[in-house]
Amino acid sequence: MATTQTTQAARAAEQAELAGTIRVAVPEHSLRTDIRAASIVWRRELIRFQRDRLRAVTSLIQPLLFLLVLGTGLSALAQASMPPGIDFKTFIYPGVLAMSVLFTAIFSAASIVWDREFGFLREMLVAPVSRASIVIGKCFGGATIATMQGLIMLALAGLAGVPYNPMLLLILTGEMLLLAFTLTAFGVMMAARITQFQAFMALTQMLVMPLFFLSGALYPLHGLPTWLSVLTRLDPLTYVVGPMRYAVLSHLPLDPAAVSALSPSITWAGWPVPIMLSLGIVLVMGLAMMGVAIATFSKTE
């Protein structure tokens, strides 16, 4: 209470100084204000990621379990069908990278539902900016932190016998970024419609594991029964995990026959899908889902 007087004195002094309040002329809505809005939404994701170290650590556990426990446990069985010079852990490593991106991206989108329940979404939605800028900021924010989470996993490449080749790391980072963007866009699209946190988590949990298992993260995509073969082609994750695995294997001292046996091209009715098209599909899906999310948010309130 003793401070009350001093603050009051300070306040009186400032009163004179602030007599002319700082005039703020809020500008008209323009592309520039929208970009600024998108970038602050993006920055908020980064600040929150930075602050939540515990989440970054706990998000590592599941991918590490797959890589180290499942990878090691199954290696005796799997090694029989592996060409010499490649570990089963190396084989599943790209899938595990995708998995860590998957969890973080979905979790980041879940924060929209969380924000809605705690009211902060309202602060964003009542602002005089286009809803598109908020959704775009959110998608890129989620993509950035999911990629950062992937980078932590990427730093552990040595555990899986993957070389720290700069070119390889660059390619994998780019592919993770693409995957992270599309998955966040998917999550944001869902979060635009699902207003309850419990329901959102239940639904994503129901989707995350099938997405992962159908992506070919744990097995090569050839010689599969037709039903499974069809399902893997419908999973967007497939179109990133395939190129990621190809990148890893082609940077190992393996003969081309072994690479194409372990990382066969994704085929549509026998036609091999080029890697760039495969990645392009993922990008287009991401953009389309972001578009749906923007449309949904623009309609509310």
Binding site: E14, V26, P27, I40, E123
Partner: protein
């Protein structure tokens, strides 16, 4: 950056000294399905006034504020805020108003300063003005020293103050406060009113607030009493109290029903039970009390006489005290909430 948005208002202010009111509402209604939450209200708030909407929960206060803030579309009627039409010029209205909601809309994981910077960027506050303006509003609400603490560590009162500071950050022409002190302890409520008072002395701002606390409505220049979606009275607190012109007498008796009957028979007074006591109004309470004791056969346990308060004003215009109205309004609220959820 010569925006029409803020330029429009500036132009009106210059125009031969005749200022357009900060808020102008005509025939405004809002229906949620079958339920009419707001049934045709009209009022004007001149620039610089603190205007209060007083009524029980479910009377239509929040719905009205939502329409004025462009968060809900009126079913019919028109509303202009800060010189712009709420439906046709949504963004222009939003740029010129500050909002403090009943429920918190802060990011608990960010610091106070980060919450404000976020707001500044969304509202396009010029980057050079952000830090000085932020300091100004944070000092006004006494949170400058705590600006780098995460909001999660703030008390309820601090959060509300931070929201008020944030609502002011972009220097709005009209500040909307929806139940600014609900859920706060009496001491914090008093301090919030202190900040609002200080704010009025510093900034050229119109304040529109809703409350269901009678004592708080006294802080307003003018108040509108709203009940069942209609404005039943609108004036300064003093004028409203004077209009009642009667003292309120409450008595506790051994038999309330008998007392009510006897009051009617002996004195021609209509009394009713409110808040657990037999309540009625008479023109001069002190002089009536001796006559009361002389004329009543029902034993009286205690008696209290009070000068007209806004409670009495509310009672004389709506026929019930605000607390009674809230008890019966609760049903209606639930209905409305259900109808609202159904729409989404």
């Amino acid at each position: 950056m010569t925006g029409h948005g803020s330029g429009g208002l500036a132009a009106q202010r210059v125009a031969n000294g005749h200022r357009e009111p900060a808020i102008k509402v005509a025939g405004l209604t809002k229906k949620y399905g079958e339920i009419e939450a707001v049934r045709g209200i009209d009022f004007e708030v001149p620039v610089g006034e603190t205007f209060g909407f007083l009524g029980p929960n479910g009377a239509g206060k929040s719905t009205t504020i939502k329409m004025l803030c462009t968060l809900a579309r009126p079913t019919s009627g028109s509303a202009r805020v800060a010189g712009h039409e709420v439906t046709a010029e949504r963004d222009a209205v939003r740029r010129n108003i500050g909002l403090v909601f009943q429920d918190t809309t802060l990011d608990n994981y960010l610091t106070g300063a980060q919450n404000l910077r976020f707001h500044a960027a969304l509202y396009g506050v010029p980057p050079a003005a952000v830090e000085p303006r932020m300091r100004q509003v944070l000092e006004m609400v006494g949170l400058w020293e705590r600006r780098d603490s995460v909001v999660m560590t703030y008390s309820g009162g601090m959060k509300r103050r931070l929201e008020i500071a944030r609502g002011l950050l972009h220097a709005p022409h009209v500040l909307f406060l929806d139940e600014p002190t609900v859920g706060l302890d009496p001491q914090t409520r008093a301090s919030i009113w202190e900040y609002i008072g200080e704010l009025k002395s510093r900034e050229d701002i119109t304040i529109f607030l809703t409350t269901h606390y009678m004592d708080e409505a006294e802080h307003c220049d003018r108040i509108a009493i709203i009940d069942h979606g209609k404005i039943v009275a609108i004036d300064t607190p003093e004028a409203l109290k004077a209009s009642v012109g009667k003292d309120r007498v409450q008595i506790h008796t051994a038999d309330d029903q008998a007392a009510i009957a006897e009051l009617g028979r002996e004195f021609g007074i209509e009394a009713a039970v409110h808040e657990g006591a037999v309540t009625f109004s008479v023109s001069s309470g002190e002089q009536f009390v001796p006559r009361l004791f002389a004329g009543m056969s029902v034993p009286i346990k205690s008696v209290s006489v009070s000068r007209p308060t806004l409670d009495d004003v509310f009672m004389s215009y709506t026929g019930s005290t605000i607390r009674d109205a809230e008890a019966s309004g609760a049903d209606q609220m639930r209905q409305m909430a259900a109808a609202f959820r159904g729409r989404r």
